[in-house]
Amino acid sequence: MTGPAADTIAAGGFDRIDPPDTEIYLDCVHCGFCLPTCPTYLVLGNEMDNPRGRIYLTRAISEGRSKITDRFVEHMNLCLLCRACETACPSGVKFGFLMEAARGQIERNYQYPPAEKRFRDHVLRTFTDLDRLETLTGLLRFYQQSGLQRLVRASGVLSLFGRLGKMEALLPPIPDQRLRKELPEVLPARGQKRARVGFLAGCVQRFFLPQVNASTTRALAENGFEVVTPREQGCCGSLLVHEGEREHAKAFARRTIDTFERAGVDFIVVNAAGCGSVMKEYWELLHSDAVYRTRAEAFSQKVRDTSELFAQTPANGRLRELPLKVTYHDACHLAHGQKVRQQPRNLLKAIPGLQLVELAESDFCCGSAGVYNVFHPEVAQKFLDRKIDRIKETGAEVVVSANPGCTFQIERGLKERGLGIRVVHPMELLDWSYRGAMPSGLRRI
């Protein structure tokens, strides 16, 4: 585990709070293996927008040869933090940590233009504050259900609102919130109890995809897990870490650790790749926190993506036929961030009747990347178009995604192209198979 030693701390254009770890620069041998795996390099086609270039630019600042300039910030913020480069890197460069630390420096030491700053703050607060999300989902559901959305979209008035208008286009349909409210605090294991697990309900997942949480907890219980969903849990801080709001993220991380320590669980289960990835790396986020460092290490050790838990304790024999042709999209923070690739595929293959077809470039970012598609809609669209092309080639009826950001992004892309392909979470498929209940509207193979 890396943490800056006292003698390597802070230099050049960075401050002393979590400066990028200089060991990471030394791991990079400049071979360029990361270049063709970096989505932004492939789309933007310049060397400032690839991992090798970004490391080089960051190092120049650390060593006092350059400063945090507008252009530096632009290239750093254009990074999706998909971490495909980490998968590609034979030297094991921890690019994600470097980028998160650099963004922390930017957040503190760079002055965004005021309007930009307000927009950033607004977006980040909205997606990480549960009270705000609750109010917002209520308003948005009314907006969509009342016909107001159709009216507004038809009127063209959205074009007057600039970026907020574009955000409106990213809005997924807001589901009925009853499912969310019905999620029990403790769901007993069916049959013999294998373990007691704490479930992270997520922020976006909880409000926008409550059916995924319902399916996840049911499937876990069906498999012998007692599922605790602590009521007092909040945001895990994932988005904030990615956007460089480290101090704020640390507060969220400490609260999350407290919550699940109190719940007394064997594992903490996460069904959103972005959240799981950051929680597995709380040890890094809190490495300089004397009180929480060791607790964070213990916590991170207990975090599992849902599919990992099933891989350890295979799905039992009650699965029913699910005659669907599906393809699997690797969420970046699962495949690259957590190195979880095979487990979800194995899980899908265990479902009788289900046909899994491989998706070309399955681990190439779809452009959602947390709030990337909000901050960089034009660039994000290019990744999305590429993803949808590949999905179309598979002829699958269903795309499986284990991250809410990807789910919304891909759903929107499919809808734009008029493709009737559904996006579902692997836990939904498992749950349907357990219950022998496939939702209507899906074509059987």
């Binding site: 400049h30 252009r71 530096f72 460069v93």
Partner: protein, 484 residues
């Protein structure tokens, strides 16, 4: 610093568009080095054209203004070949990355220079075809760069180097003229200008289209990993295999340091306690391939092999190759910096040179990782150093120079596939007389009379070699040349 930079930038911008010009230092910096970080030189401007027409127009401006210019692909080169030593314009070809045509019947493909080497094979694999030259950096390096450096790869013993696979080229000459060399057939009438161009290290022109041969996959492929206690036994086995008249696709060697790095980085299944491993691959008709496994194993056994393991399936085979090909790139696992040599020796001298390198390693107190193309005697000793320790880079360079001289002394040469470029230009007189070099310069002048294209490469400058600063820092090369 470029005179009239603003005016030239404006003019270039009109050709390639505003999103394809880079001219500020905080961005240009990323173009100041390539895969060999001991040399650095910052361009004044980078342009990123997306067509041959744009390249030609940019070159015309450079020619008219007498501004030095150089082409760059993926920036993975290991001899500083794409460095703008005199500043000026760097033409990045990575946006020209389309596969234009695939003709299976006639076994050829037309690609733009920025196409990544492995993309071509990926595009034709489903139909059972592949592009043979496969440098270890094939996941990242561009075919245009391969053409410039006449890159080799692990298949060299049987399939040759890049030049054996290029049928024709579209080239922008240093005055901006767009010409065709060769064609779509194996041999075009007249001088073999394609052969002259391939390996010219970016000093004759800029390739904007490459017509490459593609090959049908052989019926069978077998890959063996032979594990030895030491380098000497492995070296003798290589000589033995070749002496037996066997022509494998590849004979690759790795020593223990290389294995450590590869296993940490990739986990390819090489035994961590081996003194050395050989990876030997044979391909062809099934009967032939199966018949070859036995004699290869026999030669290894004669040379005290600990174990010969035959890859049981394609997955295991590909994993072995993934490990071998990631070896350079994995060095960060065991060392902050490395300096790679690319010397060639007659294969029969392998045991001697390996022993000599081991002695040098002790003398200089620097570790060496050996990972190389043993089948064609192309060494890649990676001298491991730490640029943070004062004087270590200098020691590494001294040691590299001793290795190179020893190789020449054994009847070898200073570069097998990485090119002379910036790095080895001062070593050229060790290999060639002045007359030899003058003859080469005459050829260069035919293509590049003013020397504005890629100056400072291949030929010795006569000056005492300037030492670069530690990697990641601005080197002395840059300071000496005044690009601050």
């Amino acid at each position: 610093m470029l005179k009239d930079k603003a005016r030239i930038v404006r003019e270039l911008g009109k050709i390639v568009g505003p999103n394809a010009v880079i001219c500020e230092e905080d961005e240009l910096r990323v173009y100041d080095t390539d895969g060999l970080t001991i040399f650095k030189a910052m361009p004044d401007v980078v342009v990123l054209p997306n067509s041959a027409g744009q390249v030609a127009e940019v070159v015309k401006v450079c020619h008219r203004e007498k501004v030095p210019f150089v082409a760059r692909g993926s920036g993975t080169g290991l001899s500083g070949g794409a460095l703008p030593l005199e500043g000026g314009v760097l033409i990045g070809l990575n946006r020209m990355n389309r596969i234009l045509e695939i003709d299976y019947e006639n076994k050829r493909a037309v690609v733009e220079p920025g196409v990544i080497n492995v993309w071509l094979t990926n595009a034709i694999a489903a139909r059972g075809y592949y592009y043979a030259p496969d440098p270890a950096s094939q996941l990242a390096c561009s075919i245009g760069g391969n053409v410039a450096e006449n890159s080799g790869g692990v298949r060299t013993p049987k399939y040759g180097v890049t030049t054996n696979h290029i049928l024709g080229l579209e080239v922008v000459l240093p005055d901006g003229e767009l010409v065709q060399l060769g064609g779509k057939t194996l041999d075009t009438p007249g001088y073999d200008l394609v052969g002259v161009f391939v390996g010219s290290e970016g000093t004759f022109g800029i390739a904007t289209k490459v017509i490459a041969r593609i090959m049908k996959k052989p019926e069978a492929v077998k890959t063996l990993m032979a594990v030895f206690e030491n380098l000497e036994d492995a070296s003798n086995a290589v000589s033995g295999i070749v002496a037996a008249g066997i022509v494998p696709v590849s004979i690759e060697m790795m020593d223990n340091n290389a294995i450590q790095a590869v296993e940490k980085g990739v986990g390819a299944g090489y035994p961590l306690d081996a003194g050395s491993v050989l990876v030997v691959e044979v391909d062809g008709p099934r009967a032939e391939v199966e018949a070859l496994v036995h004699p290869i194993t026999e030669v290894c056994e004669k040379n005290h092999v600990r174990e010969v393991r035959l890859a049981k399936d394609d997955a295991e085979r590909l994993l072995l190759w993934k490990g071998r090909k990631a070896a350079f790139a994995a060095m960060g696992q065991i060392s902050p910096d490395y300096y790679v040599q690319d010397a060639v020796i007659p294969r029969t001298k392998l045991p001697q040179i390996m022993a000599y390198i081991a002695d040098l390693s002790k003398k200089y107190g620097l570790r060496v990782a050996n990972v190389f193309h043993a089948g064609d005697g192309n060494l890649h000793p990676l001298i491991l150093y730490d640029s943070r320790n004062e004087g270590e880079l200098h020691k590494a360079e001294e040691m590299g120079s001793e290795i190179m001289k020893a190789c020449i002394g054994m009847g070898g040469s200073i570069t097998g596939e990485h090119g002379v470029g910036r790095e080895k230009r001062e070593y050229m007189p060790l290999m060639y007389t002045e007359d030899d070099l003058e003859a080469m310069k005459k050829v260069k002048r035919v293509f590049n009379p003013d020397g504005v294209l890629n100056p400072g490469k291949i030929f010795p400058t006569g000056a005492k070699d300037v030492k670069a600063g530690p990697s990641g820092q601005r080197g002395i090369v840059e300071k000496v040349l005044g690009h601050s």
